[in-house]
Amino acid sequence: MEVYIKGIGNISPQYTEDSKVFLDDVVNHESDFLLSLEPNYKEFINPIQLRRMSKLIKMGISASKICLKDAGVENPGAIITGTGLGLVGDTEKFLNQVLDHNEELLAPTAFIQSTHNTISGQVAIALKCFKYNNTYSHRGFSFESALLDGMLLVENKDADNVLVGGFDEITKEHHSIVKKTRWVKNETIKSLELLDHKTQGTIVGESVAFFTLTGEKDENTYAKIKDIKTVYKPENNQEIEAKLDEFLAKNNLKKEEIDLVVLGLNGNIDTDDIYTHLADNYFNTNYAYFKHLSGDYHTVGSFALWFAANTIKHQKVPEVARFRKENFTEKPIRNVLVYNHFREVDHSIFLLTQ
């Protein structure tokens, strides 16, 4: 496919807002979960509207505007978002009202803002964009579905300058519930030491990241997204290797031509095996990881795409993100492959090229 990233707006637990720098300074979070570093919203939203908006809406509108500015685009040709859990804060607010007040005397605001398409709708209102608009909510395929949809729009020339975003938020209340599952670590850790804690579960994070996709390459282009693939419930490592073989062959690439593999390692000893397996037995190249920077969540693929695109744009893999550092060799970064999975169920592969 001929689809290029020409702008990014990423609000995350790291300093990702400014596209001129790439992880020059890194925040080492030491808390139960990783919250985003919120921007000065007044730069993007007028104060009257700002007061009425919940956190994710503010982050969503700001990230979309950062992205379009970065791309030099005024109005996008489509808006597509993906989210695993949507507007968790508003959902909790309305649900607690319904349960605590016995279904009486409820205020509609939290309900109105709690549908998963709120961000795509609010961004459309903020940008006055009347074109194609869609939202996906499917676990580890939420952002990936949005990205696929956007790439098809560009590829089929149904739209250009397509705004594709992924968003999820973590709240204290939701964290108190997911902490009871085997997916979240019980202990509080320093985020940069994520892989040193050989325990069950991961740390939860959040972000909102938008990308402007275009069919035309220009001086703003970060990278070309050559292909993406989702793999649902692979039986074992062999099936994953077979899917990777098929994927690389389809894109006329040998695995030796991949300059960097970005792995979704999240520090969960139960589910990180596939990543080390791929590093040890399948690829033979440089590796990076990123969830010690972002935390893990359904749409972390959007953070991974930001990371991968920036390794190409800046031609560097920040030291903090190198995996298997001892074997890291300096070389031009032309082809980058991202491999991520959500709870061993939803696996995704992105292929980016210079």
């Binding site: 309900f111 109105i112 549908t115 459309a124 940008l127 964009c129 909510s137 676990r139």
Partner: protein, 399 residues
């Protein structure tokens, strides 16, 4: 890229029947599913009427032949039943034979169980399995596992246009050669959460809803699940199987006006319908019938009605809202109404807009109020509009 998209199977469960055959019978009998609340645990029981699937969860589990005690939400159960019927209806014996995807739409996801156990989830470790059935993807993955789909799974979540958007992505993936077949549609069970949400917006009619009526008082919520099997032209040629209809057009546009309201002139509705028509290559005069979004709210019926008038001018096709039968099944509505539209094409019938009495002052047209038989129904426009300004339109044509 020039592949045509064929519908080869349909499956449905809603307040008017547990399968396609029962649905058709209720449509012919003018039998609405809207009634007093029986299954949903809510204080609005006896006050706000809804169209529930007429089976308890135990009965749904038994009907689907599933093990008891698993964390299946009501949405998942009805989704499994409808998707399985669609696959069987399409005479698919080995779903893994060709690349097949499942794209389902839902907005409240597993909320029916989350709201039941939420305080337990916060305060105890009881029912913790239901935290993993809360998100929208859970139902889709359980349906996929039940019908054996592995090549692609995804979930749209654009409120009341979710199912229509599932079909649009499915059609585009087939056209791009990514999949040969897609089971596409939507599901939604009733929840206290969205019933109370709609109630705070004061758009729930306390009586059976009256779409396009001057004195309409709002919508009735419904629950249901409906799926279509979409297949590529190549695959249909190869198998020679019966085609139920062709998906000839689709449109998606955003109103970008207000989170829960449409412009009075129906800008978004117009744009979605126009795009669907343009894509199909049909002229407005070719459309024989519009299965309207027609919720019965003040706002929707006015803006949709005006958009229809703008697009069709003086030659307005027959219009009805079958939400007067099924209630507004929200994320499933696009699927439910696609199935009803295909039944119209198959049986040369147009199903009426029940409960209609008085024409809207602002509109030139009245909806169809009686069953029309032996009528030419070659092209149907089916509208689905959602919160957030997400408007979609589909065109189904006789093959």
């Amino acid at each position: 890229m020039s592949q045509r998209i064929f519908v080869t199977g349909i499956g449905i469960i809603s307040g008017i029947g547990n399968n396609v055959e029962e649905t058709l019978q209720s449509l012919k009998d003018k039998k609405s599913g809207v009634a007093e609340i029986k299954y949903l645990k809510t204080n609005h029981k006896g006050v706000i009427p809804v169209s529930e699937v007429k089976l308890s969860e135990e009965e749904l589990i038994e009907k689907a032949g599933l093990p008891k005690g698993e964390p299946y939400t009501r949405s998942t159960l009805i989704g499994i039943i409808a998707a399985d019927e669609a696959v069987k209806n399409a005479q698919i014996s080995d779903i893994k034979e060709y690349k097949t995807g499942l794209i389902s739409g839902t907005t409240v996801g597993g909320m029916d169980k989350s709201e039941l156990y939420y305080k337990d989830l916060l305060e105890t470790t009881n029912h913790i399995e239901y935290i993993e059935s809360h998100d929208c993807g859970d139902s889709t993955e359980r349906i996929a596992d039940y019908i054996g789909v592995k090549d692609f799974v995804s979930t749209t979540s654009t409120a009341c246009s979710s199912a229509a958007n599932s079909m649009i992505l499915g059609a585009r993936m087939i056209k791009n050669g990514l999949l040969y077949r897609v089971v596409a549609g939507g599901i939604e069970s009733l929840t206290k959460y969205h019933m109370n949400g709609f109630n705070t917006l004061m758009i729930l009619d306390r009586e059976p809803c009256k779409p396009f009526d001057e004195n309409r008082q709002g919508l009735n919520l419904g629950e249901g699940a409906a799926f279509l099997v979409l297949e590529s032209e190549e695959l249909v040629k190869k198998s020679g199987k019966k085609v139920l209809a062709e998906l000839t057009g689709y449109g998606n546009s955003c109103e970008a006006f207000h989170q829960t309201a449409s412009t009075p002139e129906g800008k978004g509705a117009y744009a979605a319908m126009k795009e669907a028509l343009d894509r199909s290559g049909l002229k407005p005069a070719d459309i024989d019938y519009i299965n309207a979004h027609g919720t019965g709210t003040d706002n929707n019926d006015l803006s949709e009605g005006r958009a229809i008038e703008t697009l069709f001018g003086d030659n307005i096709p027959k219009v009805s809202s079958t939400k007067s039968y099924t209630g507004h099944t929200t994320s499933a509505a696009g699927g439910v109404e696609a199935v009803i539209s295909i039944l119209s094409i198959q049986h040369n019938m147009i199903f009426p807009n029940l409960n209609f009495k008085e024409q809207m002052k602002e509109l030139k047209f009245k909806p169809v109020t009686e069953i029309i038989e032996d009528v030419k129904v070659d092209h149907i426009l089916s509208n689905s509009f959602g919160f957030g300004g997400n408007n979609s339109a589909l065109i189904f044509s006789r093959y």
